[in-house]
């Protein structure tokens, strides 16, 4: 069988085709450099992270660019309208869903992505390849994006996400490691500085830290 035949039957995957996948700038120059241009403009991005380390703040420039609904499915707490309003996202763009079962969660996620009028932030564990593929197709159909949050070192590593990142807390911001990406090598890591965006939430001036007295806990 000749090479042309193999190509015609799509049995050979050609890497350079994925080089110019559409990207959206993340708003952080270091991250754009790490991701070779930014987050994928559509598709499923998985973020392995502890809660409350800045995972939503990392995405804020992304969220601001869109005039669509942002649907939060099973978030660990309610979104704070004040915070989002400060960052240019109106409270009428936010919707929280708490479906009763995992099946309904996947259904709702797919509907939201298909509609073309919303993007989704999903906190849900346990997804198989077929389900992920379905969500990716829904993203393509609706030109929408799904950010899925997982605990660190979760067993989702083998799934074919469009982009899979690990976020680790760092005194100056977030340490971002690429676990998997389409059309590129994994393994690179960069420190994203939050000192400019959120100086109060970094520890550059060690002198200002007030130790909390242990006896007052609880």
């Amino acid at each position: 069988m000749s090479l042309e035949q193999l190509l015609a039957h799509q049995q050979v995957w050609r890497g350079f085709k994925t080089q110019n996948l559409p990207k959206k700038s993340s708003g952080y120059p270091e991250l754009d450099e790490l991701l070779q241009g930014g987050f994928p403009a559509q598709g499923v991005t998985a973020l392995h992270t502890q809660p409350a380390v800045g995972e939503l703040r990392l995405l804020m420039p992304q969220l601001q660019q869109q005039q669509r609904l942002w649907i939060l499915i099973n978030p660990p707490a309610l979104p704070n309208a004040e915070f989002f309003a400060q960052h240019g996202i109106g409270n009428h763009q936010l919707l929280v869903l708490r479906p009763n079962s995992a099946k309904e969660t996947l259904w709702a996620t797919e509907q939201c992505l298909l509609s073309g009028s919303s993007h989704v932030l999903l906190w849900q564990q346990g997804m198989n390849v077929a389900q992920l593929k379905r969500l990716q197709l829904a993203c393509q159909h609706g030109d929408s994006r799904l950010f899925a949050f997982y605990p660190p070192h979760d067993s989702q590593f083998s799934l074919p996400f469009d982009l899979q990142l690990e976020l680790q807390a760092h005194p100056q911001g977030l340490q971002v490691t690429v676990l998997k990406r389409r059309g590129g090598w994994p393994g690179q890591s960069r420190l994203i500085h939050f000192t400019r965006h959120w100086p109060e939430l970094t520890q550059q001036q060690a002198s200002q830290v007030i130790p909390f007295p242990q006896e007052k806990v609880g």
């Binding site: 502890q50 809660p51 409350a52 380390v53 800045g54 939503l56 703040r57 669509r68 609904l69 978030p75 660990p76 707490a77 309610l78 979104p79 704070n80 309208a81 004040e82 915070f83 989002f84 309003a85 400060q86 240019g88 109106g90 409270n91 009428h92 936010l94 919707l95 929280v96 869903l97 708490r98 479906p99 009763n100 259904w107 709702a108 509907q111 939201c112 298909l114 509609s115 073309g116 009028s117 919303s118 159909h141 609706g142 680790q168 807390a169 760092h170 005194p171 959120w198 109060e200 939430l201 520890q203 200002q208 830290v209 007030i210 130790p211 909390f212 242990q214 007052k216 806990v217 609880g218």
Partner: protein, 478 residues
């Protein structure tokens, strides 16, 4: 004046929903007998009043007693005659024809009078008018007879005599002259009187001198004759389109599966769409009542807060709802009503990005809400209040109305706990305090010192201390 009269001899039977044709065919092939042997019986006189085609083929006739009918046809399906059903069907029909003809008189139980002479300006000729009317009537499963004449009563008699022609003035006068008196609604006593006189047709009666007519007819019959000739007006109420949309559907069989139910809802929702489109309205809420034979009635309310008028969208919402709540028992009657309508709010679509926004946000929210239930869905309200839990408030069941964006940059957490939780882990205070003392004006005061705190894992928390030195977590800087 010139009238067209539509006469529906089997209105109740035709307007009842029968099992779909294809399932019918299956039964035919399996058992080898035609299945739909249906008849409507007058519950007082026990006589057949309406018969389906198949029963007529079996040899039944209108006016036959129930006992002899049952003796002739073994599998006769019998329904009691209900004039309310016919009245409903007649009003629905009038609503559908109202877009073609502005002057409709309801003649319950089985007739509609359409006044034609006032409609002349809107249509080129009678032929084009009739074409449009037929196009409107053709999809309906109704059998009808019609005739036109100079008076409503004459048109009615000619229609009932199955003339089925659009007659000119002269033709209708001729036909009326030749109409047997037995076809008219004279009292029996009067009819036998005519018979003794040797009068056979309306023409012969009209030919009598006026003085003799007065002598031989009772006052009611005199008035009737005058109405027939157009000398006295026939006062039937003119039809006025109702503000409310309500449809009842009587099923001739019981429905157990939701797909069957959806099939029945589809035409009703199409009528709803027509109703709403003509009024430039959208429906924010629909109510479907399902009536079971043994269980109490069930009412489903379905919301589309932004107002929806497309039948396809409503059908989708009903399908989602029925998927979540399957039918509890077989349904034999249902009614669909529009709770209230509101002006249609257009969805603002992006002109340059149209191919992607396949479903507008409002429809998406309505779908999610219908499928997942009201409690699973929360929007976020924002108010100008210093208390964090009152500045960002859950808005159950729907998207919240828009509030203005905030320019000032006070650092606030991105996620807020529904209620503050006692602090249980060791933390390091990073910044603070920010003292919030508010709410003394509405009996929900707070007095808190807020701090930004760092936990051992590098998590940023929003914690506060009460005057009693108790510590709580209130939010996450996610």
């Amino acid at each position: 004046m010139f009238w067209l009269y539509l006469y529906f001899p089997r209105l109740q039977l035709d307007s009842m929903v029968m099992p779909a044709n294809n399932s019918d065919a299956q039964i035919c092939t399996e058992e080898g007998v035609p299945q739909a042997l249906e008849a409507v019986v007058d519950p007082h006189s026990h006589q057949l009043v309406q018969l389906s085609d198949t029963t007529i083929k079996e040899g039944l006739q209108v006016g036959m007693g129930l006992a002899s009918a049952a003796a002739l046809v073994e599998k006769l399906q019998v329904y009691a005659y209900q004039s309310e059903l016919e009245q409903d069907a007649l009003e629905q029909l009038a609503e559908q024809l109202y877009s073609l003809n502005g002057d409709i008189s309801l003649d319950p139980p089985q007739g509609l009078g359409l006044r034609l002479d006032t409609m002349g300006q809107l249509y080129q000729d009678l032929g084009s008018y009739w074409q449009q009317l037929q196009a409107q009537l053709a999809p309906l499963p109704l059998r009808y007879h019609f005739a036109s004449a100079t008076t409503l009563l004459a048109a009615k008699l000619l229609a009932r005599a199955e003339t089925d022609q659009l007659l000119t003035h002269e033709q209708s006068a001729q036909r009326l002259q030749a109409l047997p008196l037995a076809c008219c609604d004279f009292p029996d006593k009067q009819l036998s009187h005519f018979e003794r006189l040797g009068l056979q047709t309306v023409g012969e009666l009209e030919a009598l001198p006026r003085s003799e007519l007065i002598e031989r007819l009772d006052p009611a019959s005199q008035a009737y004759l005058a109405q027939l000739q157009g000398k006295l007006p026939l006062n039937l109420p003119g039809y006025q389109a109702p503000e409310q949309f309500q449809r009842h559907c009587e099923l001739s069989y019981e429905i157990k599966q939701s797909p069957q139910l959806l099939k029945i809802l589809e035409p009703l929702l199409k009528q709803l769409e027509q109703h709403l489109r003509q009024r430039q309205l959208g429906a924010p809420r629909m109510q479907l009542s399902l009536i079971f034979r043994e269980q109490p009635e069930q009412t489903l309310q379905i919301h589309a807060p932004a107002g929806q008028n497309s039948a396809a969208q409503w059908l989708k919402l009903f399908a989602l709802r029925l998927e979540r709540h399957p039918l509890a028992a077989p349904v034999y009657r249902l009614s669909l009503s529009l709770c209230h309508a509101q002006p249609l709010a257009g969805d603002k679509a992006d002109l340059f990005n149209q191919q992607h926004a396949a479903i507008p946000a409002s429809s998406l929210v309505a779908q999610l809400r219908t499928r997942l239930g009201d409690v699973c869905l929360t929007g976020i309200d924002r108010f100008d209040d210093l208390r964090p839990e009152r500045a960002s408030v859950p808005h159950p069941g729907d998207l919240a109305p828009a509030s203005a964006l905030i320019a000032e940059q006070v650092l606030r957490p991105s996620l807020l706990l529904p209620s503050p939780q006692p602090l249980k882990h060791p933390i390091t205070l990073q910044q603070g305090p920010e003292r919030l003392v508010a709410g003394w004006w509405d009996q929900q005061p707070i007095e808190r010192d807020y701090f930004i705190a760092l936990s051992g894992d590098g998590q940023y928390l929003w914690v506060f201390r009460t005057p009693q030195q108790q510590w709580f977590v209130h939010g996450y800087f996610s």
